[in-house]
């Protein structure tokens, strides 16, 4: 049982979007700050730092997580997905991201990384969601620009498109 000292930095290793990354963190460092300041993955945004706004939402071992409510030391050995891992290639958007663009589901973009992570995880387990389910999911996020309606529209359209792609592949 190692006791990691408050005054020292300790090595943390995990898989970030399929790639092993490593850095050093004091015990009190939040995962959100570790991603941004140590790894340099600044796609994850930091808003309220007490779990309310949802901007920093990432996926840890398949579980949606507030990265500001998670310590870097807690994710040693974990598999983490962030917004940088959503696009299939550097010059292409994912189906969900493209739907956000078409529907103007972002304006300033501060909340977008977290909302995309929530919706990406949600659409995998809920391929045919209704509007209520989408609104329940995004109740865990605060967006001050859009009024949420374009986000809901983008999510529903992305769900339909993903379902059509899946059906086509199943019949191919």
């Amino acid at each position: 049982m190692p006791r990691l000292s408050a005054d020292a930095r300790h090595t943390v290793r995990f898989t970030l979007n399929g790639r092993v990354v490593e850095g050093e963190a004091e015990p009190r460092m939040q995962l959100s700050d570790f991603l941004r300041h140590v790894i340099g993955a600044t796609g994850t945004h930091v808003g309220c730092e007490h779990g309310v706004c949802g901007a920093c939402t990432v996926e840890v071992d398949g579980m949606l997580t507030r990265s500001c409510l998670t310590l870097a030391l807690q994710v040693e050995g974990a598999s983490i997905r962030t917004v940088e891992g959503l696009a299939p290639a550097p010059d292409r958007l994912s189906v969900l991201q493209a739907a956000f663009r078409r529907h103007h589901a972002l304006q300033c973009g501060f909340c977008t990384a977290g909302i995309l992570m929530s919706l990406d995880a949600f659409l995998k387990t809920t391929p045919d969601p209704d509007e209520d389910a989408v609104r329940d999911l995004i109740s865990g996020h605060v967006c001050r620009c859009t009024g949420y309606t374009p986000i809901v529209q983008a999510a529903l359209e992305a769900a339909a498109e993903l379902k059509a792609i899946q059906e086509e592949t199943a019949h191919a």
Partner: protein, 273 residues
């Protein structure tokens, strides 16, 4: 907002975790999912000298269903909510748990962590009190079980000693009671202004309220109807000693206890087996 400094212990066994609590007492705190406690650390409302992470312990991720339903300390809220037997064995919890936080916090936040946090408006403490559940506490040397009504002692204060950790909580499994849960919050997933839980049998009604007093509070009523039920709820609403705050006035909270209380109790009576 960054936490103050603390040492970090990644406990591999329960004995290791309890050993740190035994040695450091009030300076040590357990962290599990962290979805409530990390906010306290970030705001420096909690400043422990050492934090003990229990999420790598083996054997703490159990849900045992028998006469009681026992949920151990490693079980996350989403895991309990997704358990296929939950609506049958704990219908009240299956109705109340979707109001706890959001999808994004239930995925990591633990059931026992919410009990340890003891927020007076939280849903899981309310369900535990409504169902007369128990909190299983353990130190390095002994274990004890505390009834829910004795466990919550004040706002975010519990009967847990500094060297104890919550090993599990248990609820009596449902035996055909009618249950209902309702809540008023400014937005879904926000802390409840008033949350109500009701459990109805052939002979009595047990009614519990969260978000008003400094602890969730339950009362047992005989099968009351009409104005007798209104009177009982009115008495309870005044006894809870509601306060004005930025979210709602005391008067509004009392009115919610009377109105939401009544509809919650009626729903519980209707859905008895």
């Amino acid at each position: 907002m960054k936490p103050a400094k603390f040492d970090f212990v990644r406990a591999d066994t329960l004995d290791e975790a309890l050993g740190v609590l035994a040695n450091e007492g009030t300076d040590a705190r357990i962290i599990a999912g962290g979805m409530s406690f990390m906010a306290m650390l970030n705001m420096r409302l909690a400043r422990p000298k050492v934090l003990v992470d229990i999420m790598r312990l083996k054997g703490l991720a159990r849900i045992d269903i028998g006469k009681d339903v026992t949920v151990s300390a490693g079980i996350r809220q989403a895991q309990l909510l997704a358990h296929p037997e939950l609506p049958r064995v704990l219908p009240l919890v299956s109705k109340g748990l979707p109001f706890t936080g959001h999808v994004q916090t239930r995925a990591r936040g633990t059931v026992c962590g919410s009990i340890a946090h003891a927020d007076p408006s939280a849903e899981l403490p309310l369900c535990l009190i409504a169902l007369k559940g128990q909190v299983h506490l353990r130190t390095a040397r002994k274990t004890r079980k505390v009834p829910a009504e004795e466990f919550f002692t004040g706002m975010m204060a519990t009967a847990k000693a500094d060297d104890e950790m919550i090993e599990a909580i248990s609820f009596p499994a449902a035996k055909g009671e009618g249950t209902a849960f309702s809540e008023i919050a400014r937005r879904h997933g926000d802390f409840a202004i008033v949350a109500c839980a009701a459990v109805a049998t052939e002979k009595s009604i047990r009614f519990a309220v969260g978000g008003v007093a400094d602890v969730p509070t339950a009362r047992d009523f005989p099968l009351l109807e009409g104005s007798a039920l209104d009177d009982a709820l009115n008495t309870l609403a005044w006894e809870l000693d509601a306060r004005d705050d930025v979210h709602a006035s005391a008067r509004y909270r009392r009115e919610l206890v009377r109105r939401i209380g009544r509809s919650t109790i009626e729903e519980a009576l209707r859905c008895r087996a």
